[in-house]
């Protein structure tokens, strides 16, 4: 951003609301018992007359999907009204075999909650307008066969459960939007209701974006941004769109209420559809589905089933393991990472839990995460198990291997899947801690480096480090520093 652009940007305030859709990890579809997992299935093999919208069929609500949605709503501090119902949202598109989508209109299963994000050390609440249930659509492939353009329809996804989470227009920067998405995904994965995989479209995000002169109370005209398939895409697309709108306004033009698509590889949004008048979906109550009456006992039962959520886990990690807020937040963002960390701390032999926890955190967030990212592996399937990492740290604590050697052992164990102790044994990796052997090496190093010895006498403490380096060179890094340092000190003061 140039200086002029930065100045322009500060004259305007960005207003963002997000609409997130999440698939739910149920076994069957929302209103029929076809399998919900359509990955790798041949087209139209997970379908039946109900999800294909044949006449005369009767849909039945999936109880697990309702439970998952209410659990999500509770985690987002929403109100769960006593009465709720499903409605038909009517529109024509080939991915929707019935000619309508079963959704929720004026009586959703939940409303009025919030989600907390952490920005620059401060907490900010983002309002949740509502969370409701609906069904997903089928998938289309658009083809062009020698000038003959047509589309192929696969209805395996049609009728799978979809949860919509609508936020208030409470976000004021692309970064806040990304943090909101990351936190929401984290909560969904902790709850076990969603895979959270944006790259597989199991989690999708649309954004409503507008800008207004700073200080103006009413909102500007908004655009809806679609096709953002990653957290990074959300932040990039919103940054682009805000700048585009500001430039339009500064040039004296109006923002047109419209839907725009994010083009990832070009880094721009393009106009998809102008909304001339508000959509007319002719919602009406779904006559095939009796309404839901949600008893307080039902809500209490689900409340009791809620697992520890990321914010609570973060606070507990800070309190029980003495971790920094930063480390605790990084570790608890992913439930699998948090579980791994705790298992590794518990598997070790260290007596000082806080020191061990800090070491586990450093290795998990550092070298191990780097190895996992490079191999595109999830930590839940890491070849270094929590017990393996604990063993590696125990070997370091016992002085069997140095920190530098441990990195090497970790990489080898990660690549081969062998236990760190097995790698140490097989490769003959060990530290040199024999005082007699080290003493003769120290003597030789001192004899060969009279200048460094003179420097030491002249008060240059860096001379010790230089000599230590020489000892390491001779021992190929195997010498134990905590044995060598006192040896060097005493020899130098005697010499």
């Amino acid at each position: 951003m140039t200086t002029a652009e930065a100045t322009a940007a500060t004259d305007y305030e960005l207003v963002i609301g997000l609409e997130v859709h999440s698939q739910l990890l149920t076994a069957s579809k929302m209103f029929c018992r076809c399998p919900a997992d359509y990955a790798n299935a041949a087209p139209n093999t997970h379908c039946c007359p109900i999800c294909m919208g044949f006449p005369g069929v009767l849909p039945v609500i999936n109880e697990q999907a309702v439970d998952f949605m209410i659990m999500t709503a509770l985690a987002l501090h929403c109100e769960i009204p006593d009465f709720s119902k499903f409605d038909r949202k009517n529109y024509f598109y080939p991915d929707l075999p019935k000619g309508y989508q079963i959704s929720q209109y004026d009586r959703p299963l939940s409303h009025d909650g919030y989600l907390t994000i952490h920005l620059n050390g401060a907490e900010k609440r983002i309002g949740i307008t509502r969370v409701h249930l609906e069904e997903d659509t089928g998938r289309l492939a658009h083809l062009d066969g020698g000038g003959d353009r047509y589309s192929l329809v696969d209805l395996n996804r049609a009728g799978t459960p979809l949860m919509e989470i609508v936020s208030e227009p409470d976000m004021r920067s692309p970064e806040e939007a990304r943090l909101y998405m990351e936190k929401l995904r984290s909560i969904l994965v902790y709850l076990g209701v969603s895979s959270g995989k944006m790259e597989e479209a199991a989690l999708r995000c649309d954004a409503n974006v507008s800008v207004r002169p700073r200080g103006q109370a009413e909102f500007g005209v908004k655009t809806e941004i679609k096709n953002m398939n990653s957290f990074r895409a959300v932040e990039r697309a919103l940054t682009y769109e805000a700048q585009r709108q500001i430039e339009e306004l500064k040039a004296g033009r109006r923002i047109v209420q419209s839907t725009r698509g994010w083009i990832e590889d070009r880094g721009i949004t393009v106009l998809q559809r102008v909304k001339e008048n508000s959509d007319d979906y002719r919602y009406f109550p779904e006559p095939d589905l009796p309404p839901l009456v949600v008893s307080r006992e039902w809500v209490a039962r689900l409340q009791a089933q809620l697992p520890e959520l990321p914010d609570a886990a973060r606070e507990r990690f800070e309190r029980d393991y003495g971790l920094s807020t930063y480390d605790a937040e990084q570790l608890t963002a992913e439930r699998a990472m948090a579980d791994y960390f705790e298992a590794a701390v518990k598997a070790g032999k260290a007596s000082d839990t806080h020191a061990r926890a800090k070491a586990v955190a450093n290795w998990t967030l550092g070298d191990l995460r780097r190895l996992l990212n490079t191999a595109s592996l999830d930590i839940s399937v890491s070849t270094i198990t929590p017990a393996g990492l604990a063993e590696l740290l125990d070997l370091m604590d016992a002085g069997t291997i140095s920190g530098k050697q441990a990195k090497d052992v970790l990489e080898k164990a990660f690549a081969s899947g062998a236990a760190p102790s097995a790698v140490v044994a097989a490769e003959g990796i060990s530290q040199l801690s024999d005082t007699g052997e080290l003493e003769s090496i120290v003597d030789a190093v001192i004899a060969e480096n009279p200048k460094a010895v003179d420097d030491f006498r002249a008060g240059k403490s860096s001379a010790v480090q230089f000599l230590m380096g020489q000892v390491m060179k001779r021992t190929k890094g195997r010498a134990r520093p905590d044995v060598v340092t006192p040896l060097l000190q005493s020899k130098l003061s005697q010499a």
């Binding site: 069957s28 024509f92 047509y150 998809q272 309404p291």
Partner: protein, 97 residues
């Protein structure tokens, strides 16, 4: 209450119905008559009746989340006007939405 031509055309567009001039006028009259009848029904005193979204005396009809085998695709696609490699084939829809 009567319905104007614009409303008839709007509803026809939403329902993807191509109507002739005669049909538009004919349906405008019919729809107006239906709405007039609803006006008559609206005169009934419902102040003592709770609003309802569903006429069935049932709530919370739900199924346990267990998946069952789906139907044979050949059966499901048997009446499709066009198919290709197990997909329904439809005319291009890229420009819509």
């Amino acid at each position: 209450m009567s319905i104007d031509r614009e409303t008839v055309e709007h509803v026809a567009r939403l329902a993807r119905l191509a109507l002739s001039e005669d049909e538009r006028e004919h349906l405008r009259e019919q729809l107006s008559a239906i709405l007039e009848h609803i006006n008559v029904i609206s005169e009934a005193d419902t102040s003592q009746v709770a609003a309802s979204a569903n006429i069935l005396p049932m709530t919370n009809v739900m199924a346990v989340d267990t998946s069952r085998p789906s139907c044979a695709p050949d059966t499901l696609l048997a009446n499709a006007p066009a198919r290709e490699d197990g997909y329904f084939r439809v005319r291009a829809v890229m420009d819509e939405e």
